[in-house]
């Protein structure tokens, strides 16, 4: 399936709307053929601008975008052959579902019988057979969303862009649509560039995630790597939950470093610190820390339970640990015999490998 590593290539792309502020800074991004890549970031981080430049609705201020080896900055949107799903679906309200799907085929002058086959196929792909004669206004939000997806795929584009397509749906529907879109992607092997600000959506669906902040890609990697091994504190903070300790590196040797906090010292994994005396923020995922660990761990400290919140499958425990009153632990509810009570002092341990010493916040 995946043949070209740089099917889509952003080459040193800058974008500014007003000539004063760069919305996208020196973007360098390769997207492989057949890949599902997500641009993730807070609003205003430049991710949608990137998508719009790829679709052709915005032009790069500097640099070039290549699609399948061809520079596309001078190609108008309708000649790029890129499918797109918009934030609010952008279904044509005066056309039936069938006509909506037929639109891209008609402008390409595809014969009617062939077009009908394609439309049938696209509708069955999103399990909306029998809805062809409906008007978009007669469909629920989720159905409209599926029509929008079907419409973006019906003319067999090599690349599909999705701009926060699930933003308007409620939580349950959003989750089931995530799987649906993922399965469609897997079954037809189209390249998808997906924009969202919802990290769980990004983690569920993507092959790779590009985390945007401040007009730059902070990290581009697979979901697990992004979660397990964030390269800077923005990514660590933005993706998932995160416990942090701010301190100063006091020793660094043998793939480990000592970080001096206000009133203690912890062992950590030096990621972006190079030498002694550097300021750093140590990041630790809540599930990596254990209460009363049975195995030996190289960090073991006492903390006081400040708050216990029941979450069904797990319990969140907020602990005042080493001067950080916001230290969060997730305890699976099966481990019943732990002594989790408000005000108790407990032992908390973690491996220094999981405590990543990143750039200071």
């Amino acid at each position: 399936m995946a043949s070209k590593k740089d099917f889509v290539k952003f080459d040193k792309v800058d974008k500014s709307y007003d000539g004063k502020v760069l919305v996208v800074k020196d973007l360098q991004l390769d997207i492989a053929e057949g890949e599902f890549i997500t641009m993730l970031g807070p609003s205003g981080s430049g991710k949608t601008t990137c998508l719009m430049m790829l679709a052709g609705f915005e032009t790069p201020t500097n640099g070039e975008i290549y699609l399948d080896g061809k520079a596309i900055s001078s190609i108008p949107p309708h000649k790029r052959g890129i499918g797109m799903v918009f934030q609010n679906y952008a279904l044509f309200p005066h056309m039936t579902v069938y006509e909506n799907l037929a639109f891209p085929l008609r402008v390409r002058k595809i014969p009617k019988d062939e077009a009908d086959k394609k439309i049938d196929k696209a509708l069955s792909m999103v399990s909306l057979q029998g809805f062809a004669a409906r008007m978009p206004g007669q469909l629920s939000g989720g159905q409209q969303q599926r029509v929008a997806v079907a419409r973006s795929l019906v003319f067999d584009p090599q690349l599909v862009l999705m701009d926060e397509p699930l933003g308007a749906l409620d939580k349950n529907l959003r989750e089931s649509m995530q799987y649906e879109i993922k399965h469609i992607h897997e079954s037809i092997g189209v390249t998808v560039v997906y924009v969202t600000h919802d990290q769980s959506e990004a983690l569920t669906m993507s092959n790779r995630i590009a985390v945007f902040n401040d007009g730059k890609v902070q990290q581009l990697s697979s979901p697990d790597e992004l979660y397990e091994k964030p390269v800077n504190s923005f990514v660590a903070e933005f993706i998932g939950e995160n416990n942090t300790f701010g301190g100063e590196v006091s020793d660094i040797s043998g793939g480990k470093c000592k970080v001096k906090l206000a009133n203690a010292e912890i062992l950590a994994n030096p990621i972006s610190v190079k030498g002694k005396g550097e300021r750093t923020t140590v990041s630790l995922r809540p599930e990596r820390a254990l209460i009363n660990p049975s195995t030996k761990m190289d960090n073991l400290h006492k903390g006081k339970i400040e708050e216990v919140i029941y979450h069904g499958d797990h319990t969140r425990v907020r602990i005042n640990l080493l001067g950080n009153p916001e230290f969060i632990l997730k305890v699976p509810n099966s481990s019943s015999n732990l002594d989790i009570k408000l005000g108790n002092e407990i032992n908390i341990g973690w491996n220094s490998d999981d405590a990543r010493a990143l750039d200071p916040k």
């Binding site: 679709a55 052709g56 609705f57 108008p76 949107p77 309708h78 000649k79 790029r80 052959g81 890129i82 499918g83 797109m84 918009f86 934030q87 609010n88 952008a90 279904l91 044509f92 309200p93 005066h94 639109f103 891209p104 402008v107 390409r108 419409r151 973006s152 003319f155 862009l161």
Partner: protein, 417 residues
């Protein structure tokens, strides 16, 4: 099946429907009282005048009431030969009464509308009738003037018997009922109303087209420009509304006259010779230009309100799916603006069809519309029933257009704002 449906009761045992009605009655009364003043106002200012207009346009009681006995006697007359003594005697009786009341002049005017030549013979009859002897009125009346012995004139009287008449409507279409009781057109050189109707339709149609062509891009700009500029543009569109219609029309007169600014400009850029300045006023051109400008906001506003609701992502979607900008516009954007186009066109057309001041001032002889004719009959000839008839014809024309629009586009598909 229906027997199984149980009546739903409230906890007090009252049927739910009854209880609901009772609960809502108070609100309904309140709501009605709130709209009642407006309803009353509408009835007084709108329904009554239109009803009165309708009545006036067909009312022909005047002659019926002046000659009651004559018409009663005429009921048995076949209209072929001269009527017999009974009719003449009845006519004499009615006529004497009219002379006593000094109303015979009105009768002569009215009968003269129906057939020329009544004025003089009624004058003669009045003088002669003083010396009439009792009995054999037929001979005596016929001897007053030979027209009284002409069956045509008696038929003309008979035609005025009905209390209601459509003759004003026929007149509005340049038609009349001739001696044989058939509806025919007036002579070619006297047909003035048909030309006016056609011209009214023509001017209203083209003004609508011009307004549409100009308003569409403006409305699109208004809907898509950033707030800062669109507000300014909106003020420019609305500015004419803040100026009196008369002032605007007068300023067009200044612009369009032969020694006016527009002509000066044309001469200045060498488009026309100084001694051959085109006439742009007191003809159709004047009506077109001034009416288009004045009615433009009525097209812009409905279009704008519709365009404002069209998401820009629809055009983008059209383009990203492979439509050229034109295809995306024509297949996606344009169909979505149809409700606004319909509303704007209907509004402008209906306003244009009844336009009065502007064509009266800048239209001249070839640019006046039917409304100017109505005004003429209201003010100059005082033939109010004819003015009413034409007003109603105009109104029914508008209703026909509205009906056609509903058939073709659908009235729920209209959006005024």
């Amino acid at each position: 099946m229906s027997s199984e449906i149980k009546q739903i009761l409230t906890t007090d045992g009252i049927p739910l429907e009854v209880s609901l009605k009772k609960a809502e009655r108070k609100n309904k009364i309140k709501a009605f009282l709130l709209v009642a003043p407006l309803l009353l106002f509408l009835i007084i200012t709108y329904v009554f005048p239109i009803g009165d207009m309708l009545f006036r346009s067909v009312d022909d009681k005047m002659v019926t009431q002046m000659l009651p006995k004559t018409f009663k006697a005429m009921e048995n007359w076949d209209g072929q030969e001269l009527p017999d003594e009974e009719v003449f005697a009845a006519f004499h009786e009615d006529f004497i009464k009219l002379v006593e009341d000094k109303r015979e002049g009105k009768l002569s005017t009215q009968l003269n509308y129906t057939k020329n030549g009544f004025k003089s013979i009624i004058k003669k009859l009045r003088r002669a009738s003083k010396k009439f002897e009792e009995g054999n009125y037929k001979e005596q009346i016929m001897s007053v003037h030979k027209r009284w012995a002409d069956v045509e004139y008696w038929r003309a009287i008979q035609r005025r018997a009905p209390e209601f008449t459509a003759q004003k409507y026929l007149k509005g279409m340049d038609m009349y009922v001739n001696e044989e009781g058939k509806i025919v057109s007036v002579e070619e050189d006297r047909r003035i109303h048909r030309v006016l109707w056609l011209r009214t339709l023509e001017i209203a149609f083209f003004v609508t087209v011009f307004c549409f062509l100009m308003a569409y891009p403006i409305a699109h700009l208004l809907a898509t420009l950033p707030m800062k500029y669109s507000n300014l543009l909106m003020i420019c569109v609305l500015l004419p509304f803040w100026t009196s219609l008369l002032v605007r029309t007068a300023s067009w007169m200044i612009l369009l006259q032969q020694q006016g600014i527009v002509n000066d400009f044309f001469v200045g850029i060498g488009l026309v010779a100084d001694d051959n300045r085109p006439e742009m006023m007191y003809n159709k051109t004047g009506s077109y230009v001034a009416m288009t400008q004045i009615l433009l906001p009525f097209m812009v506003l409905p279009l704008y309100s519709v365009m404002k609701t069209i998401s820009p992502s629809l055009m983008r979607a059209g383009k990203s799916l492979g439509g050229t900008p034109f295809v995306a516009f024509w297949k996606v954007y344009f169909p979505l603006t149809i409700p606004g186009i319909g509303a704007g066109c209907l509004l402008v057309f209906i306003l244009a069809i009844g336009y009065y001041i502007t064509p009266a001032l800048v239209g001249g002889a070839s640019g006046t519309l039917i409304s100017n004719q109505i005004a003429f009959h209201m003010k100059s000839t005082l033939d109010w029933s004819f003015a009413s008839a034409m007003g109603l014809m105009l109104l029914s024309g508008v209703l026909v257009i509205y009906w056609l629009y509903n058939k073709i586009v659908g009235i729920d598909n209209i959006k005024l704002g």
